[in-house]
Symmetry: D2
Subunit: 370 residues, 4 copies
């Protein structure tokens, strides 16, 4: 399905960095989800370059909902949300050479699209496209919150500095919710400063850093997901690998579980007479591809921003010759903190889809049926 | 799409551990793929319990192709392959209690299917189902090999013992191909013995071990995959998380890339005048979701077999009360070596699908059109 | 999706006329649908050659359920049902020539599959494949009946003889239900004899006849279907055109509505204080692609069996030369009465899918959750 | 997939009659399809109210391409095209009553969306949405034309007046192509005047008329389509039933074939040594769901516009009481001539999808790969 994802609730993504607009279409939502414009704006703000690392705080992206909303609620018909590309003045993109940026999609785009791709600013591959994903995801994320399903992501590590883990602590909804509002979300406040220093040091050297994000989901009903293919892990991974720069994902104990004995790894079951729970959560809330009622936990590896200021060996894809690339302009020395907002967005859409498959389209309705 | 995966080439999986048969339907294959019965049998053998760890070598599963093959070639119509469950004698499954095995799907199956699930031997969640996947995957994997696309998986680590990595070495097709034939595939032969010792030690203690698999794909054409959602990483991850016990996947440098600087992580580009290549392969052969012509590399984390012989706390899902579980019977103390065959199978099907999306259904045809 | 149909509930079809078996996989069903073996057998009997027209009544097809059923109920996992091809003795199919039967798929199969198709008896295009569809459809049709959704099809016309229409009469469930049990379903009993005479006359001349089927669905909930693309009409039409020999479909007043004035065609609305209904049903129970709570009505045009005994001009697709075809063997002079069972089956699966999209997977469950 | 259609090439539709904009996203197109702005505008003009029947010719809809086009060619990434709703001034839609228009979707929309639907002007069900479909379809239709695949639709009957049929004549590309440019496309020019008179007579009486459209496709390659479910008939029917007011579709001889003998209905095969053709085309270019190389022919039944000026019995869906509806404003007394442009659009998208499934994404590329 290419640029569309989901079964019962789908998202379709379009747009290029320097085209007229970027946008997303959400389909399969029920009528009656309240649209919270501030909430959407706040999610977009989290994705924007942060003042701690970038030099200046810019205004949030201005989005426009073209369809699917009436009197402040979703109508149940496709919701198209767009964000205009305001600053797309004609730069000198017609230079004789086109130097492929290492570890960017410049070369693969040419392979795939035969030279017809809009290469300006990365075109359809630009991280800018994620703004549309965050806006669409915010509509769904808010609906999930209203159903008691809370998604939060913190920066588990960045530049060699580690935040503490979600671990097996019992988390309050408010604490998880607040992560989605922070510019630089960490569990242990002081690590933010240390990470920032590492980022700024790398920036000063014309270099960049990556990091690991950790996501926790509270309140997900049990019994959601499929045993084969559309497992919760498979669906989330499918979606999360669309977040640019993500190169790995692990659930629960993840790669560490591979080094455990079964007796350590297994999550023993207990009941308090009302609910069945597990003593540990090495499974990350999922067994056999299906939610078990415990919090879902996963981590994503985000590579360092490939746009750096050091000279790099590359190829001129017009002339086909070896060349050296020196990038100019402003580039973020880290995007891991911004990527969290995108991970949240695709997570929200994926979970909503899995829930709609199980409970039908109307499950997410929050307004009173008229 | 639940138990079906793929866009242009799809696989549908069915069956329960103790039902009449398990099977898979492959759809979207072109007419004219040669069926190599020995090749299929060899892949099934690799998935079977190995003599090095299990006490006795058993015969490979006997499969039957019900449709889609004529005169030794695929017809282009759906290929259904089944494997009968030969030993499904009525055990005493009607005991009063049903103790959910920790970190198995017993509990989540009940949540999802409301008590109607076939719980005998894990039912539809049983690792046995993967035999059908391996058989179907072997049809596709052979077709890919005939097109020069070679998939190989080795055990990168198991029980604390590490094999060497694929790394940046240039691999011969024959070496990669041979991995899919080994009972216990490793790159460095002596590590197999050490791993085996660790497995047997755990087994002696009634425990189990997990491991990490590393997969390399040679010969994948460039320009395959999509920028959003149906990225090569997203599609492979979606499929691979269907392999039971997998809890993580990483591409190229994976989680380690999160700790690198951009200047280390970026794969500089070079050309030898004929082909563009990268000096390193931290991207694992994929940029912007699309293949770049370099080998695809990924690793999967396989948890220790959850069936262990130590006593475990659990819940009786019939009575809803706390209980203690003591498992009997024979259970593998490790499945990581067998999981490799399944990873290869789903990888083959996923790559074939991505290729068919790009080049059309007939691209995989190997026979001469009549 | 090729040989798979549906979104929330899907059916995948496989098999060739002279291969080992034909079959279908139903996925997306909930656990807890009671399997009624007699009901399935009865539907298969209806699809079999009827004694009124064929010389001898044969036994119903023997089907086997390979997966997805446990203790008499669906498990919620994929249900695979197969029917062995018992009489596939090696006929002389290796003759030098292959004469394409006019208005059959012999030629188009070769175009598509490049000569690798199993051409024996029509292969994957054979009407025989519909037996698997009818068996799978029967599982779903019974579940719908238990929910009060009744599907019935009669032969509206055949060989120039017309049965009366469903019209605007209020139909009893039992009357509609009985249509699915009749060998030769008509509303006005005496037309069956007249139609039979026409069929036998054609048969005596080595010729064949077609007919029109009319289908009525009682009890379909309102509000099901989508405004664009996955309209109830579009989904049913998509499915029904898979029934071999169907060349047209119309809903409600159908093609006749094109000749009406709006004031005749419009279905005025009334309420009795409890339910809103329409005075007429020219819309066939569907407005804007969505059910309105009135009976769904549609008609399908079934062409005369293309296998006739008269000489026909054709092409030898091996030699590429013009030729004359004289068919031998036994061929039905009409299949319209048998096609009704297939229309019912695909209708049942399509409606179940639309309902599952709206109400979630568990809506069709009929057994008590344990 | 709700408001999305297609497998390899997909279209997603969004928008409401009185919302900010309507639009469509085309995904799966290759890079390198030339965008012909005049061609798109001409197709939109054909869909607009015609001067012959409406009182005044209005300007064509102004569309904007938001993404997926660069330097005049498709990029291969999703193409989003929108049309602003310019005249959406706040009418008095907040009246106490909401009278459901008979044979409109007012009632079914409420059933489905729970009262949250945007009911103004029919909302998402409005015929206006088809403007986006026509614009998107025009991109694809032009690409098909450049590949020699020509789609044309004429008004076969309207208000009781019949145009001549495509029949078995051999049609010139130019003649078929010109149908897509005509305001009121007929094969026999003088029938247009007679039809127009019938329409104006109905209009004068506050009533409306319907009609039948006949579509011919030249140049479609053979071997395209699937034997089950994704048959060419099934895919086209699925798409065409999205054209508002369509209540029937038939291929080739259609419903008339049901009254033929097999010996009349069968299309005998001949070869001229280079190409195999059929002597007749009762199959409408499709056998076994797959194209046979002959022209594809189908007819669609379009109901009379349900908006009429005569008083109609209806229900007030707010109060739930019986009521009488008297419509005001301007409403077309016929839409059959405008519906042709929409049928062409969905036909083009469906055929392109079937071709991309068969030949891969790049088949439709018309520009020179760079």
């Amino acid at each position: 399905m290419k640029n569309t994802f989901g079964n019962a609730i789908t998202v379709t993504l379009f747009g290029e960095s320097h085209g007229p607009a970027i946008g997303a279409v959400l389909d399969g939502l029920p009528g009656g989800i309240k649209i919270d414009e501030e909430y959407i704006a706040a999610r977009l703000t989290q994705r924007r370059p942060s003042g701690r690392i970038s030099t200046a705080r810019r205004e949030p992206d201005r989005y426009e909902i073209l369809s699917g909303v009436f009197n402040g609620y979703t109508t149940g018909t496709p919701l198209c949300i767009i964000i205009r590309n305001e600053d797309t003045r004609s730069k000198d993109y017609d230079s004789v050479s086109r130097l492929a940026r290492p570890s960017h999609a410049d070369l693969t785009a040419m392979y795939k699209y035969g030279g017809f791709e809009d290469y300006r600013g990365g075109g359809h591959f630009s991280g800018r496209i994620t703004a549309a994903l965050v806006a669409a995801g915010a509509v769904v994320m808010k609906a999930l919150e209203d159903k008691g399903i809370i998604i939060g992501t913190h920066i588990k590590s960045c530049g060699g500095i580690s935040d503490r883990d979600f671990g097996t602590a019992v988390w309050a909804e408010a604490d998880i919710r607040s992560l989605a509002e922070a510019d630089f979300p960490v569990l242990d406040g002081k690590t933010a400063d240390e990470m920032e220093k590492k980022i700024l040091t790398a920036a000063a050297e014309g270099d960049s850093v990556g990091g690991v994000l950790e996501t926790l989901i509270l309140g997900m009903p049990e019994g959601v997901g499929e045993p084969w293919f559309d497992t919760v892990e498979g669906m989330l991974a499918h979606a999360v690998f669309s977040v640019p720069a993500v190169k790995g994902i692990e659930f629960g104990a993840g790669f560490a579980i591979a080094e455990m004995r079964g007796s350590q790894a297994n999550d023993c079951l207990r009941t308090d007479g009302k609910k069945i729970y597990t003593e540990t959560n090495n499974s990350g809330g999922i067994n056999g591809g299906i939610t078990n009622g415990m919090p879902i936990v996963f981590r994503t590896a985000v590579k360092p921003t490939p746009s750096i200021f050091k000279e790099q060996r590359t190829v001129d894809i017009k002339s086909g010759e070896n060349a050296v690339l020196s990038l100019n302009g402003r580039h973020d020395p880290a995007i891991v903190h911004r990527a969290g907002a995108v991970v949240n967005a695709v997570t929200a859409i994926t979970l909503a889809d899995l829930l709609a498959v199980r409970y039908g389209a109307d499950w997410l309705r929050t307004g009173e049926k008229k």
